[in-house]
Amino acid sequence: MQRRFVSIWFRQLLADWQLIRRPELSGVPFVFAAPDHGRMIITAVSELALGFGVEVGMRAADAKAICPGLEVLDDKPGRSRKLLKGLGEWCVRYSPIVAIDEFAMDGLLLEATGCSHLWGGESGYLKEIVSRLKSKGYTVRVAIADTPGAAWAISHYGKVTPLIPVGGHVDALLNLVPDALRLEESVLAKLRKLGFYQIKSFIGMPRSVLRRRFGEDFLLRLGQAIGTEIEVLAALQVPVPFSERLACLEPIKTRNGIEIAINKLLENLCKRMQAEGKGLRFGVLTCYRIDGKMVQVDIGTSGASHNISHLLKLFQLKIDQIRPALGIELFVLDAPKVDDVEVPQEEMWTSKPGLDDQSVIKLLDRVAGKVGFQVIHRYLPAKRYWPERAILKAVSVTEKPNAPWRVDKPRPTELLKTPVAIEVMAIIPDHPPKFFIYKGVRHIVAKADGPERIEREWWLDHGEHRDYYQVEDEQGGRYWLFRSGHYGGENKYKWFIHGFFA
């Protein structure tokens, strides 16, 4: 299929934007100016000011002299790029590949290959773009051609038609001025000096001659316009391989409608993923609203899945977060992260349930979708004695412990997150306490085991070691107490409670 490109040129990007923001300026000539070498140089001119002869590159003071009542507004560097980025994201509705025109910084380049038929052909496509942008307040010139360079040239300098038929771009370029090739000012000056006022006067010359006179960059630009060099568009949004779009005739604003839309998208997406043996790990649903805003929700799965009902359930948990406002006109479902699906072998007899059971994985996905992945914990043994560090969070659902759990030392069923200081009466040096007071209750110790000394991990932190005792009070409550530090050292020893035994 022949590739087609659209160039959109915003003739007065900043001025139009300012008029949309401040409609009261519509009768006033105004310009944007930025300081340069201590002078204010005009960077953008409104339509009205243009009529007075004000041009880009003039000094603001001069412009004021020829145009009385001229309003000079401050221009911020990078503002055009920001505007173009926003407009480009809006233009994603016309094509998945939208790039900013980096040469003049006042337009967009779209790859329209296979897109225009959705708007009833190329002329309908261009009309739609122009009228939609015009209704927003932007005056644009557009052109469609086989190469981005030609489309750019026609949109900026073309006088006949913006619709260049397939293969006709070279002919369309012939009568244009060399400026249409996106060249440096110094090269243009040289061309003018030599009397090349139209592209046709030099397009037939041998390449070696042109290279010697005008440099490599000139040939590159010429090649990009006529299609001998490939120009790669830096898309604003990198298209993901697994993506589905659903444009709606009527804006959708009910929960039911959104659900049907998601189901439809998932059906198509899952069919494609299934055919390629892939499954979704992370999915993003972008809803474009008719007020120009967009809302996004995302889901994640702990194992690759192309099960429609499961994925739909995950999205159903998120529908509440979608605010349709006046209505949603376009749904885009992307799967930025996909994995190979392991097709489970059919079990002849019911298999043993376990962590990798499908129903468990689905449950985890649902919980993660509703509350978040951070709430799900699983622990593996760590080869360490310090109780707070004896367990390790597992990274994945299927991770297996690489060491057995130790059962030779007593460990409490319930462990306090931080040890709590207690008051204790104990016989020195290493007898267990006679009694201790915890939360105002006095527990008289009837039986005790210990001590078990656990040293600090000196390579991690400094401090006193702990001597742990397992004690039982007269009522039968079993506790884990420890003394921090030696008796009689420079540091004062302290007693703590750290857990409860079953």
Binding site: K352, G354, Y379, W405, T413, G476, A502
Partner: protein, 245 residues
Amino acid sequence: MDAKRELFQKLQQDILLWQGFKPVASGKAERIGLGEIEDAFPGGVFPKKAIHEFITVVPEQSAASDGFIAGLLAVLMENGAACVWASTSRRLFPASLGLFNVEPERIIFMDVQTEKDVLWITEEALKCEGLAAVVAEVNNLSLIESRRLQLAVESSGVTGFILRKDENKTASTVATARWRISPLPSQTENGMPGLGFPRWQVELLKVRNGNPGNFVLEWAGEKFEEVKKVKKESVWSEMEGRQIG
């Protein structure tokens, strides 16, 4: 006497049948290792498709309940299935579960912020047939919430354990069994120093269609063991059916 007892048993069986309890063939009855406690349940079988409620007011009780549940989980998770433990303020130390023959890595902890999330997770998890059991720590449970959980359990067959801290308002749930486990002083063999096996007072406060009771149980390293009250030396003159002369 025997005839009367037989009649009673027959009537009881009939009532159970009307209420939807299917009698289990005596040979197939799966024991869960609780000994005599299991006889308190209808048909003498520990109900797995049910919600069990544990009242834990003080941390000693909740530690004891954790231990007791861990002992049960060891049997329930025998086939390799996983378990979900949902809570807002969990203190359970996974490394201790090895003592109760439970593999801690097969327990999925879900530590959420609100009680509402705990209940949502519990209900979702109870519907999940791939799990062996679900443990939830909550402060309170309303009648409606408990009924929702019971319905979830009935369709999936997952055992649900609810640890609740509020002792009041206990009458308002549909749990199959309500327990209270409190620690008892342990006993060592021959008066050896140190601590013995963990010993608990197991109070079965409520059993649907069963007989509540009071038991003393010990976790004897590998399994539960009931501690029989040491019988007093029977005096001949007080023995039943004594014959004088």
